[in-house]
């Protein structure tokens, strides 16, 4: 199997290609364009499992209808494409999601109702991820070598978060288990969830091959001590992946978060690079690793806006400049192997040599 941590810009999307033109999709990014390109280009015909970790737009936006364009806001119209639910409406086996406070008003939730009305979806295909006390088996491969487990939300603080307007604190945390190794998909989870997990694990850290740093490497609600605990005691990962867009308005990734993970044994890889790491983004375009190997949100030189100030100087605003871009992992008989990380490491070395200060070094 192949796991793709898709570069969808500011958002999260993972695609697990399970073979025989089937795939599992975990979150879909904010717009369907990239996830649909990945699925169609790999000739995926059936979605075995669509899992939406929580109903924030940057995770569920690619599942249903794209957000309507606000008048005058977008100069370049988004591509004309319905989401994963629309295109695979007759070929989705299971849909798992968290019924947080945003679900009833979300386009994703309403689209599920529409599909049921049209007879294309049966309620038995829906799995509501609710608070529980033990990991639950969400999916298993035919040979039983690979499993996808839900480890959160759990009973306790996260259960109450389900009824509050805090979708992040009830994000579904998933573990892909393969031959004794794991990949953890942490979505936008918060420290409270991880404290619940560690409590039930008798404070044994979650050891994994890779983890997606929660909240796009951004600040999770808590203190610096919480961050240090999370990066050093709660999770022990070889690779820490950050799904972040170049020009996000949230300041992601958080400098302290990246430095804390980089200070452990983890290799930190961001899908896109931000100005925190490199001031001259156009010199790095299309990406730090060179030409992207898979469809990703990383765009061409057309995604550059130049503005001339009154004093004659030009301001360049770059968007969607790749760092590691879409990251690939292969699930083999020997375990989980990541591809192209050496290229990312060499690319970051070049940035350092050029005088930039990437956060992961």
């Amino acid at each position: 199997m192949r796991v793709l941590f898709v570069d969808v810009g500011q958002g999260t999307c993972q695609v697990i290609l399970t073979g025989d033109r089937r795939a599992i999709v975990i979150d879909t990014g904010s717009h369907p364009r990239t996830v649909m390109r990945v699925l169609r280009l790999f000739r995926v015909e059936t979605i075995e499992l669509l899992c939406i970790s929580h109903n924030d737009e940057d995770h569920s936006g690619g599942a249903a209808t794209p957000r309507a364009r606000k008048k005058g806001k977008w100069k370049k119209p988004p591509s004309l494409m319905m989401g994963v639910l629309a295109h695979y409406q007759d070929a989705i086996e299971t849909i798992a999601f968290v019924p947080d406070a945003k679900f009833a008003k979300s386009r994703f939730g309403k689209y599920l109702v529409r599909l049921e009305d049209e007879g294309k979806l049966h309620p038995e295909q829906l799995v509501i991820i609710e608070a529980q006390a033990t990991p639950k088996l969400l999916w298993e491969s035919k040979c039983k070598a690979t499993q996808l487990a839900v480890i959160s939300p759990l009973g306790g603080t996260t259960a109450s978060a389900l009824v509050k307007a805090n979708a992040n604190a009830s994000s579904a945390i998933l573990e892909l288990r393969h031959r004794g190794q794991k990949i953890v998909f942490a979505a936008d989870s918060e420290y409270s969830q991880w404290r619940d997990v560690l409590r039930l694990r008798n404070n044994r850290p979650v050891e994994c091959r890779a983890i997606t740093i929660p909240h796009h490497g951004g600040f999770m609600s808590g203190k610096l001590s919480d961050l240090k605990w999370f990066a050093n005691a709660a999770v022990k990962a070889d690779i820490a992946i950050v799904s972040v867009g170049t020009r996000n308005g949230y300041g992601h990734p958080d400098r302290e978060t990246i430095r804390e993970f980089a200070g452990t044994t983890s290799q930190v890889c961001c899908t896109q690079i931000t100005e925190q790491c490199c001031v001259d983004l156009e010199s790095v375009r299309p990406s730090v690793v060179g030409v992207p190997r898979f469809p990703c949100r990383t765009s061409t030189a057309k995604d550059v806006k130049r503005k001339t100030r009154k004093d004659g100087s030009t301001v360049i605003r770059s968007n969607n400049v790749g760092c590691a871009t879409t990251i690939e992992a292969l699930l083999t008989d020997n375990g989980i192997e990541f591809e192209r990380l050496d290229e990312h490491s060499k690319g970051v070395d070049k940035l350092v040599a050029a005088g930039h200060t990437p956060l992961c070094r």
């Binding site: 199997m1 192949r2 290609l17 073979g19 033109r21 364009r33 649909m36 390109r37 169609r40 280009l41 790999f42 000739r43 209808t65 794209p66 957000r67 309507a68 364009r69 606000k70 119209p77 988004p78 591509s79 004309l80 494409m81 319905m82 629309a86 295109h87 409406q89 019924p99 679900f103 009833a104 008003k105 939730g109 309403k110 599920l112 109702v113 529409r114 049921e116 009305d117 309620p123 038995e124 829906l126 799995v127 509501i128 991820i129 609710e130 529980q132 033990t134 990991p135 639950k136 088996l137 969400l138 499993q147 487990a149 839900v150 480890i151 039930l200 694990r201 044994r204 699930l331 083999t332």
Partner: protein, 234 residues
């Protein structure tokens, strides 16, 4: 067509089609061979295959016990069958298309040794990445007809964008729609630019407003993760 004995010096193989080219016809030394054919660009359906190197196909004429066989030396496992070279070549085109499309849909971790060998041989003859990325995407969309004949047809899609389409880009069904009709469409889109290529099919639809109570009703009938099998923490 006729065959002459080739000279002992360098020989130029001439495709039957090239026979009519004056520069070839006026050569002092050449011969015409009806059992060979250069393979240039060829289309199967909407997909155009461009060989990256010059391929020569060889046709073995039929015998009383076998049909004719068309094959290319660098692709030994692909063969086309037919009574004539043209028929066998057409069959070869179809078989090549079928094999390439099957392999493009097969992940490398599920390929057999034969598949890997075929993939390697085909990648030497065709730019498979280009074929993969040049195939247009077929996706669904919801739209509303906002302008119709005699004005240009305009469709406003659900995300607020508007497409102006010509008659050649729309199915006949859309021509019968009146302005304001909402519909679901299957559209073809350029996989690189996202530009609309054409609208393949349309279905009338009346979009119902979904309320929060409808969503709550669906939730009450869905299954729960609490019913899923338990796992250990590690």
């Amino acid at each position: 067509m006729f065959i002459v004995a080739p000279p002992t010096s360098a020989v130029t193989h001439v495709v039957a089609n090239d026979w009519h080219a004056p520069s070839v016809r006026n050569q002092d030394w050449f011969y015409c061979d009806v059992t060979q054919q250069f393979i240039g660009d060829f289309a199967v359906g909407e997909i155009l295959y461009r060989p990256t190197s010059r391929l020569v196909g060889i046709f073995e004429p039929p015998t009383p016990n076998t049909t004719g066989r068309f094959s290319v030396g660098v692709l030994p496992k692909l063969a086309g069958r037919g009574k004539t070279i043209d028929e066998a070549r057409a069959n070869w085109d179809l078989n090549t298309d079928a094999m390439i499309q099957r392999l493009l849909g097969t992940q490398d971790f599920e390929m057999t040794d034969d598949d890997k060998e075929n993939m390697q041989q085909l990648s030497q003859c065709f730019d498979l990445s280009e074929i993969r990325y040049s195939m247009p995407l077929q996706v669904r969309n919801y739209g509303k007809l906002v302008s119709a004949f005699p004005r240009p047809w305009k469709v406003r899609w659900i995300d607020g964008t508007t497409s102006e389409v010509s008659r050649h880009q729309v199915p006949a069904e859309l021509v019968r729609f009146s302005v304001g009709q909402e519909f679901e469409a299957v559209i073809e889109q350029d996989s690189r630019t996202g530009k609309l290529v054409k609208i393949i099919s349309v279905f009338r639809t009346a979009r119902k407003r979904i309320s929060e109570s409808d969503v709550a009703s669906l939730l009450s009938r869905a299954t729960s993760s609490k019913d899923l099998p338990d796992l250990d923490w590690d």
